[in-house]
């Protein structure tokens, strides 16, 4: 009995000593974590490091943002999904940054909205399926908001730009490969046609992208 305990003890000693050896080969127990790929944007796992200089406290950036019109205002306006079809903007993984090659599309939408003073635009944010669902719903909204800010910067009134996030719930294409993911990380522009005579002639169209 004591002998068994003693051999356990030697094992225990080895186990305790090993990490000390491991220190020199730097976090060898982390080899299982992917360094790139689907978590590509995160380069720093923070493992083995002290907290940042500011400790646990993180100061808010204090960004005000630009408010929206009442969501009921254009609720029944007919939607045109075709008109901006060529202007769908694509994003990098886990990113809401508008890439420079995508900016002409935003400018084209801005020009159209400027020229049609009574119409408005809704921006749909979408994600690939590699995040969790509510994370993707927030990221999709963040993508739509980034484009909204760009339209505002180009001179469109904030009250004429709506956003909606579909997260990963409305993929453009099915599939679980990078080609599909690339197509699904996107934002689509939908024209909201000004409508005075709500419900008289034109039926209310469903806003859902797949209906």
């Amino acid at each position: 009995m004591k002998l068994t305990n003693f051999s356990k003890l030697i094992l225990f000693g080895l186990i305790v000593t090993l990490p000390a050896v491991g220190c020199r080969t730097k976090s060898s127990y982390l080899t299982g974590l992917p360094k790139t790929g689907t978590t590509g944007s995160v380069v720093d796992s923070g493992i083995g490091k002290a907290l940042p200089d500011d400790g646990n406290k993180v100061k808010s950036d204090d960004v005000t943002g630009t408010s929206f019109a009442d969501p009921n205002l254009r609720k029944d306006w007919p939607r045109d999904r075709e008109i901006f079809q060529a202007d769908t903007v694509h994003f990098d993984f886990d990113s809401s940054i508008i890439k420079s090659e995508e900016k002409p599309k935003v400018a084209a939408v801005a020009d159209y909205i400027k020229a049609h003073g009574s119409d408005a635009v809704e921006i749909e944010g979408h994600c690939d399926a590699r995040g969790t669902e509510e994370y993707n719903r927030s990221l999709g909204e963040r993508r739509a908001l980034a484009l909204r800010e760009e339209l505002i910067r180009l001179g469109i009134e904030a009250s004429r730009v709506d956003t909606i996030s579909y997260g990963e719930d409305r993929p453009a294409v099915a599939g679980n490969d990078e080609a599909a993911y690339r197509k699904n990380r996107r934002a689509e522009f939908v024209l909201e046609k000004h409508q005075n005579l709500v419900g008289l002639n034109s039926p209310v169209q469903n806003n859902d992208p797949n209906k």
Binding site: T38, T39, G65, A69, S138, E141, D208
Partner: protein, 390 residues
Amino acid sequence: MKIFFLFGVWWFVLVSAIGLLYAGEQEIDIRRTIEPGNTKPIWVSMSGFTGEAAQVLQFDLYVQGFGFTNADAAQYLISGSNNGNLQGRATDRFNKSSLVSKAYSGASLRRQAHAFADDFVNAIPQHKGIALTQIAFKNDTGRNSEIYTADFDGHNAHPVTMDNTIVAAPCWVPGRKALYYTSYKLNHVDIFHQDLLTGERRPFARHGGSNMSPAVSPDGSKVAMILSRDGWTDLYVCNANENDPKRLTRTPEDESSPCWSPDGKWICFAAKLKERRSLCKISASGGEVQRISTVGVLNPTEPDWSPDGKWIVFTAMMGSFEICVVPPQGGPVIELVPGEDPSWAPNSRTVVFARRTASGRNLSLLDVPTKQVKDVSRVSGSNSQPSWAR
């Protein structure tokens, strides 16, 4: 030089361990240490039950950290019968005491078995049965998704919405009387409140932009949520019977998935801080955002704070998805099993989570201390975003 140093460390450890060992033999440690992912099951033996009753009891006990063995190796002996109604007895083999001896009637045999499982578990100190609890979840049938409620094992599932659009992110009001969820019914992302007794519902948050991820405070008086009405996706808190959302964060980054500390003082959520995805917390009355460090994993998201306050369970997105726990003050993470979107049971030890399969997502239960996992019964479609009624 280094080698000598290491030998020194080794011998120091060895000698102190010998000391501890001999000191340790003087007393018997009777505490049961509950460590996530590294705790042995509590051994029970079961006899006399058949068919559905036996299956229900095995399922219920397995997902609460019990393991099955024969009578001379078990701590608890469970026996009974289910000819017609269910009768059950449970005794502690070590101190020979009877824990429960009861006959059940009424309802279904299934429900009688759940009730007996609860009576047995509740008789063990520091344990709280969960066999009569409920979950809510999102069921995606391809084009649309609806909210369902079910028993905690997935049986008796019923839809509570029929919106024919995307409905997501259900969250129970304490006491199981109502749900909050996100619905696209009004061609907009709005948060609804639905009374489960009357079926009545009302838009709770319908502001410009998207209204997402409702989380009810433990006393039911407040709702934390993610809104973009002021131009960015930020965390807001609102009184449950008013329409006065207060903005708690002001960042251009995308906050998501709020949850509450059991004392209602803190809201924990996922955010991007300095280009790094992190878990954060903020006082429910506002203040500074504090990072909760999750050492060892990347991209933490979907936190849920255990009702006993000891752990935050969350999803780490690292190519795959891992269910993990971390103490609320942050620190080294314990990775448990592959999965996402965990939600604690009222017993603070079992969680329900979603697992990706070839045919969509499936819900599973995980006993955190033992890492015992069982799939719950599935509703046709992809089942995800579970919320455990507490």
